[in-house]
């Protein structure tokens, strides 16, 4: 985002664009990446409700993927995924072919 002059921004430090942090990508913070196996997933949403970064993507109440532009790779999702299901796995970024 270009840094604006004092004449161009709202006064009082107001941020008018709700949720614009969305445009700030924290995906680069990751050292580990969650890899999701859609076949195994039972859509219990344990990962989604626990994710601190709103990075589990849903559609119609079902998991559809991971928002890697924001996921910081904390691994909560994989930890919370039921052991029997194991639809999420953490892999080192350096080992993942993108």
């Amino acid at each position: 985002m270009r840094e604006k002059s004092w004449r161009e921004i709202p006064i009082g430090g107001m941020i008018e664009d709700a949720g614009n942090a969305d445009t700030y990508e924290t995906g680069s913070w990751r050292t580990y990446r969650p890899i999701w196996d859609a076949e195994k997933c039972i859509h219990c949403l344990a990962c989604w409700i626990a994710c601190p970064d709103s990075a589990i993507q849903l559609k119609d109440g079902k998991m559809v993927g991971i928002d890697y532009s924001h996921c910081k790779g904390c691994g909560i999702c994989a930890f919370e995924c039921p052991d029997k299901i194991a639809a999420l796995e953490m892999k080192l970024e350096t080992e993942v072919n993108d």
Partner: protein, 309 residues
């Protein structure tokens, strides 16, 4: 009552791209709270981790109206917003139902903000105060707070050669809020999302002030691996260190009675801030804490029985 499945139908009102640590459970608590409260919610937060990481100008992660004022006045600030709402509603200038949620960490609530909180609750504003309790001043570098458990190593109560971490038990904030005789007081944690969500929903539905103390593990401050944040929240509950209970108009209900109550040492294990307690010379401290946890749990069971009757 909303379980994850039901909440999944709702709009996620916290955007990604905030700057919290990887594995930050306070941010999970924020998401869960917003999913339950919905978009017509005014949120205020004391200075602290959540406020800082979500609103770094020119970015905001909040998709609801949000206000940060200062460290010690979240409750007063939201009580002012609520008073404005009452006034404008009385004048017919606004119609829709709006929720008012004030928040602070344990520093902003147990300590510097307790006066404003106490005043707002006494005045009876129709608002919910949520303390996201991560048991130390994490934003400024893990200094002890009135909510820090006994024995904890923090930056200001390090585990030294002579003094083994914090020497005092934490202030019983939830009990202090119960003593305010407000309509609703509860303890929760995002580690039990349905329980927390139910409590937020109930607190917002009740007319008058409500308070929820939410234990939110902090990977940095507690020094455990980030993926285990939810697990440490659940361990606090299952050791009875952090019972899940609610007090509705004076009637206590324990929301989770663990079948196998774990020793507190199970919660301490793996947390770097408690590592020194496992040294031979400090074993007595764990015993002392265990005795206190047992005493309070037993008392809570009795109080539940007494108030339910």
């Amino acid at each position: 009552m909303p379980a994850p499945k039901q909440l999944a139908e709702r709009e996620d009102l916290m955007s990604g791209g905030h700057r919290a640590c990887a594995g930050c459970l306070p941010m999970t608590a924020m998401r869960q709270m917003l999913l339950t409260a919905g978009k017509d919610t005014v949120v205020g937060c004391a200075t602290g981790c959540v406020e800082v990481v979500t609103t770094i100008y020119p970015y905001t992660a909040w998709k609801t109206p949000f206000i940060h004022n200062a460290f010690e006045n979240s409750a007063a600030t939201i009580s002012g917003a609520e008073a404005a709402y009452v006034s404008l509603k009385k004048q017919g200038k606004i119609d829709k139902k709006i929720n008012f949620v004030a928040m602070g960490g344990d520093g902003g609530t147990y300590d510097i903000g307790i006066q404003a909180l106490s005043g707002a609750m006494e005045r009876g504003h129709n608002m919910l105060y949520i303390c996201y309790d991560n048991q130390a001043y994490m934003n400024t570098g893990i200094q002890r707070s009135g909510g820090t458990p006994k024995g904890t190593a923090t930056s200001t109560t390090p585990a030294g050669k002579v003094i083994p971490g914090k020497t005092q038990f934490p202030k019983p904030l939830t009990e202090i809020m119960i003593a305010h005789d407000i309509p609703y007081v509860a303890q929760a944690t995002p580690g039990y999302p349905k329980d927390f969500s139910d409590k937020v929903e109930k607190a917002l539905a009740i007319d008058g002030p409500a308070f929820i103390n939410v234990l939110t593990p902090c990977t940095r401050g507690w020094r455990y691996p980030p993926e285990q944040s939810m697990e440490y929240a659940r361990l606090a509950v299952n050791t009875c260190f952090w019972p899940l209970f609610e007090v509705e108009y004076g009637v206590i209900k324990i929301n989770r009675k663990p079948k196998n109550i774990l020793p507190v040492s199970k919660w301490f294990e793996g947390q770097g801030r408690f590592r020194h307690l496992f040294k031979e010379e400090n074993k007595g401290i764990i015993d002392e804490i265990q005795a206190e946890v047992d005493r309070k749990w037993t008392l809570l069971l009795k109080r539940e029985e007494m108030t339910q009757a």
